[in-house]
């Protein structure tokens, strides 16, 4: 979940035209800390997410309702060129090979929790 929130923070920051340094300065944290939030490597505590939502002018739900929320309507995923490339590549694999890829994805998702 933290990776998804991080991606949303990065998107909202870029939409606001702010660099990581600029947003970090407004939040009162280091650029390295913000970078780790955006990468989902560091867990956001609720007070920090509230502060980010205030500074970036987004409701807190914007960051929480992630793609997981949109699992049942995945069409938008194809807008991401990387995901599209993965899907195209997977389409050329055997069913067994696809299951291996899926197992790896599940492993990665579990590891990041």
């Amino acid at each position: 979940m933290y990776r998804e929130i991080g991606r949303k923070i990065q998107k909202a920051r870029e939409e606001a035209g702010l660099s990581q340094e600029e947003l970090a300065a407004r939040l009162g944290c280091t650029q390295a800390a913000l970078s780790n939030y955006e990468l989902g490597k560091r867990r956001l505590y609720l007070s920090q997410l509230e502060r980010i939502s205030q500074v970036l002018g987004k409701p807190i739900t914007y960051f929480l309702e992630t793609r997981e929320h949109e699992r049942d309507k995945p069409a938008h995923l194809l807008e991401d060129p990387l995901l599209l490339a993965i899907l195209r590549g997977a389409a050329e694999l055997s069913e067994e090979e696809r299951r291996c890829v899926l197992a790896f994805i599940e492993f990665k998702r579990g590891y990041g929790r």
Binding site: R42, E65, Y111
Partner: protein, 377 residues
């Protein structure tokens, strides 16, 4: 500044709790641990009578308002007398944490005085099919007129049956995944709430643990903690924070086992001298002491990071993981040093060993701690 010593005020608090732990908690713990069906209310009553269930409750609500380092010092002292008693306190702290993080003033005014008045609370997260994977909760919270209807089952809830209130995690919309999870305040006497006590635990027998059945339990709208959709962040933040306190319990437990082993090693003679004079035993005791000190410093560091509102996730997991493994190591070796005397039910180290095993499971197994630490590297 790096602080390796408690402040004079903390020393005073520690000395007071140490006396209560030795004179009141330890004798009761021995009695309850030996009972076939211990009364689950007795230990919470004793802890509350000495003001030990409300460690973090702010002064404005009648509590002592301890910081996290002081709370860890207190938990170590309680755990040195009985880890089960310390787990009662820790479970209450867990139930309070979401209120400390995101509770409204009205919620705090209603629920904070409870442990001050002598009650305990419970944190209800784990389910039959969701333990380590906290995101897979099945307990539902359906919106209804004026509030929510909670339905589901919670497993291995500390203080179940004696809690004045439960902080229950449930999902309001499974399609939203983790973003659908919320935390709800459920009074202990709520209609539709049923508790089944788990009997015959291996350790922590002085505390009670139970299964919680929520059969269409109504929670008023003001029972929701925090903004809708923030429950997953609340629960991970609470668990990250709480792990250091189970680390403090491990430190206290291990300390008690080392003290018992030391006393025995100084008194017991073999081959014409006390066994502590044999290098094989003294080196074992040295290794036990090193692990306890290292665990304590990890706990203090994590708590200090919390007090300074800095990132504490990895530090807290490291403290819990190291301290719980240290506790098992120290308690196991204490039995070894005591030999046949340590292997019987009447000896305290036997209880320590059983209690230590629980610390490697609760609040995330050792494997989960390693996953969290690795994800933060």
């Amino acid at each position: 500044m790096i602080a390796f010593e408690p402040t004079p005020v903390q020393e005073e608090i520690r000395a007071r709790v140490r006396n209560v732990a030795r004179d009141v908690i330890a004798p009761l713990a021995r009695e309850l641990d030996a009972a076939p069906a211990p009364d689950p209310r007795r230990m919470p009553e004793v802890l509350a009578a000495h003001g030990l269930t409300c460690l973090l409750v702010p002064e404005e609500f009648g509590g002592p308002g301890y910081d996290n380092v002081t709370a860890a010092l207190v938990l170590e002292e309680i755990a040195a007398a009985c880890a089960g008693a310390a787990s009662i306190v820790a479970a209450t702290m867990h139930a309070m944490a979401p209120l400390l993080i995101a509770g409204t003033n009205a919620q705090r005014a209603r629920y904070f005085p409870l442990p001050v008045r002598g009650g305990v609370a419970a944190f209800a997260l784990s389910e039959p099919r969701a333990g380590s994977d906290a995101g897979a909760l099945a307990t539902s919270a359906r919106p209804t007129e004026g509030g929510y209807i909670l339905e589901g089952q919670k497993s291995f809830v500390f203080n179940a049956g004696v809690a004045g209130f439960y902080t229950v995690f449930a999902t309001s919309d499974p399609r939203k995944g983790k973003a659908g999870i919320n935390a709800y305040l459920v009074p202990g006497d709520a209609r539709g709430l049923a508790v089944t006590e788990i009997h015959d635990k291996l350790g922590l027998r002085t505390s009670t643990t139970g299964e919680l059945l929520l059969d269409r339990v109504f929670v008023a709208a003001d029972g929701l903690i925090g903004h809708p959709g923030t429950g997953y962040l609340l629960l991970t933040q609470t668990l990250d924070w709480g792990r250091a306190f189970f680390g403090a319990i491990g430190v206290g437990l291990a300390r008690a086992a080392l003290e018992a082993a030391l006393a025995h090693a100084r008194q017991r003679e073999q081959f014409g001298r006390p066994i502590i004079k044999h290098q094989e035993v003294s080196f074992l005791l040295a290794d036990m002491a090193i692990r306890i000190d290292a665990a304590r410093l990890l706990v203090w560091r994590a708590c200090r990071l919390m007090d300074r509102e800095e990132d504490f996730t990895a530090a807290s997991s490291m403290a819990k993981l190291f301290a719980s493994e240290a506790a098992r190591y120290v308690c196991g070796n204490a039995i070894l040093i005591l030999g046949r005397e340590g292997y019987v039910r009447r000896n305290a180290v036997e209880k320590y060993y059983r209690d230590a095993k629980a610390l490697e499971i609760v609040e995330g197994t050792s494997q989960i701690q390693r996953m969290i630490i690795a994800s933060q590297l």
